[in-house]
């Protein structure tokens, strides 16, 4: 019995100490970051890295496994130690990339990111941790890298890369890695690299797929050679909408690190003029041959029209973030706030709540009283779904005033798809394919519901 009591007491003490330790770690991380944040913002590193003649005893031990590779050797390691790399974006690609660069002993790593850490980043952005949610990604990444390798100089830039700052910044680094998440930044980084004469290692990922290539290296094509025109904004999917598996950005970030290291060490990249496609679901890597540099390219061609950095948000018709866009398809009177909808729900008034999210999102969370019909089914005028909708409307109309139109409220995650669905329902009623209803959407969708009405409702 005594032994049993001792076990219990020890367990309790271990739990208590663990809690203390966890709280101390959080305070330490926050204090380290606060120290960092209080430093004046440096836009540029102070001086070029000095040449290095030899490796120290510690360096030889630390890098011994890669030093014995004849392709790299002491010569390559010395080149890495004096190389500087600018990492644009400290997210799913930038984290593993910067981690391997720091581990391999790259001399200086610049880390650009204007964004702050959110809990939904942690499944793929592996340099950040729970304790630093809400803090700047650039600072968090720099702090992690310093813990990994104190000899590497990490320079965080907790600000957006802009046409005003990009060229000056890119000029101060030898190699640039595009780990960004939006189209305007991709054109901006490309043009800055062409104008500054720097090679650009560019990767991207979404869902289960990734792509990587090297632009503007040794006479090879640049991003604009391959994509002279930006894609229409409505065709671009971000990670929040499309989803992404962390391992996929991890694989691409590692491949990017490999290309950067080969360029920095003088081995030359493998994907200049070719594009590697990775399909994680099928387990396929496929390398395709890209076009040559275009003599008529707007930025790297023979008579360039882009000789200065431009307004890339205007050029692309989208903003330089991957935040979800807000559509404005409906007039204010075709929309209700979550607060007004809650009031109506509490009043017990007869109505129909229609959830138009894809099934996979309904599986995550839902309002139990909502009828679920995915937007896609409405767009396709799916007969089964329209029948279901018609029945639900008729059922809820019983007990309401004869002939009165039933209020239908459409909800989705953020309040974009719900507007599209309202438009479709309006056309269905106009064509008398649906009983008389009045249709409005719930502004801000279920995420607004979670923020303002029910804090136990999941955010995703």
């Amino acid at each position: 019995m005594a032994a049993n009591e001792e076990v219990l007491a020890l367990r309790a003490e271990v739990t208590q100490r663990e809690e203390e330790l966890s709280s101390l770690k959080q305070r330490l991380a926050a204090a380290l970051l606060a120290e960092e944040e209080s430093e004046p913002e440096r836009l540029v590193p102070v001086s070029p890295l000095p040449p290095k003649a030899a490796l120290s005893r510690d360096e030889i031990l630390r890098y011994s496994r890669q030093l014995v590779l004849p392709e790299l050797g002491v010569h390559g390691q010395l080149r890495l130690a004096t190389a500087s790399v600018l990492v644009v974006g400290c997210g799913g690609l930038g984290c593993p990339l910067a981690q391997y660069l720091a581990a391999a002993g790259v001399g200086r790593i610049g880390l650009v990111d204007y964004d702050v850490i959110e809990m939904s980043n942690l499944a793929r952005q592996v340099l950040h941790d729970e304790a630093l949610a809400g803090r700047a990604k650039a600072l968090s990444a720099a702090a992690s890298l310093r813990r990994l390798n104190s000899a590497v100089e990490c320079v965080p830039y907790a600000q957006a890369l802009t046409p005003a700052t990009a060229l000056d910044l890119v000029r101060r680094y030898d190699v640039v890695a595009d780990c960004s998440d939006n189209v305007p930044t991709r054109y901006l980084v490309n043009d800055a690299c062409v104008l500054a004469g720097r090679p650009l290692v560019s990767a991207s990922a979404l869902r289960f797929e990734g792509q990587i290539t090297v632009y503007h290296y040794d006479g090879g094509p640049c991003y604009r050679c391959v994509f002279p025109q930006p894609p229409p904004a409505e065709t671009v999917t971000n990670c929040a909408d499309g989803g992404v598996l962390g391992v996929v950005t991890g694989v691409l970030g590692c491949l990017q690190a490999l290309e950067v290291l080969k360029i920095a060490a003088g081995l030359g990249p493998s994907y200049s003029g070719s594009l590697l496609l990775f399909d994680a679901l099928r387990g396929h890597f496929r390398c395709i041959q890209l076009r040559k540099r275009r003599p008529d390219c707007a930025v790297c061609g023979e008579r360039p029209t882009v000789t200065d950095l431009q307004d890339y948000e205007a050029f692309c018709g989208s903003s330089a973030t991957d935040k979800c866009r807000s559509l404005h398809l409906l007039s204010p009177k075709e929309r209700v706030s979550v607060t007004d909808y809650k009031r109506l729900l509490d009043s017990g008034a007869s109505h129909l709540l229609l959830d138009v999210r894809p099934q996979v999102e309904v599986d995550i969370c839902r309002l139990p009283h909502a009828l679920h019909i995915p937007l896609k089914h409405l767009e396709q005028r799916d007969a089964e779904s329209l029948k279901l909708l018609g029945e639900a409307v008729r059922e809820r109309k019983q007990g309401t005033q004869e002939g009165a139109a039933l209020p239908v409220y459409v909800i989705c995650k953020l309040g974009n798809d719900s507007q599209k669905a309202v438009k479709i329902l309006q056309s269905l009623t106009a064509a008398q394919e649906l009983d008389s209803v009045t249709v409005q959407d719930v502004m801000g969708g279920l995420m607004a519901w979670a923020a303002k009405i029910d804090e136990t409702f999941p955010l995703y």
Binding site: R186, Q229, P231, C239, T249, D279, Q289
Partner: protein, 101 residues
Amino acid sequence: MAAPLSVEVEFGGGAELLFDGVKKHQVILPGQEEPWDIRNLLVWIKKNLLKERPELFIQGDSVRPGILVLINDADWELLGELDYQLQDQDSVLFISTLHGG
């Protein structure tokens, strides 16, 4: 009269979502007067394979900006773009470029 062609048409990078999520399509292009090129392959795809929102795939008589066309794993720009004449057993890949990170 051009003979029927057997061609592999593939979509990736999210472009497959406009084709019911199906990435690989082994198709037979029927024999016709003029030779099959990418220009009329696109018309054929729009009519026979494309399931929704054609504007997210086609713009004018070409693909929309942001879709890369690869013929036998090479950028179509190296092969004459819309004018490339398809051969039996060719593989044509339409890849939507990704921007996430």
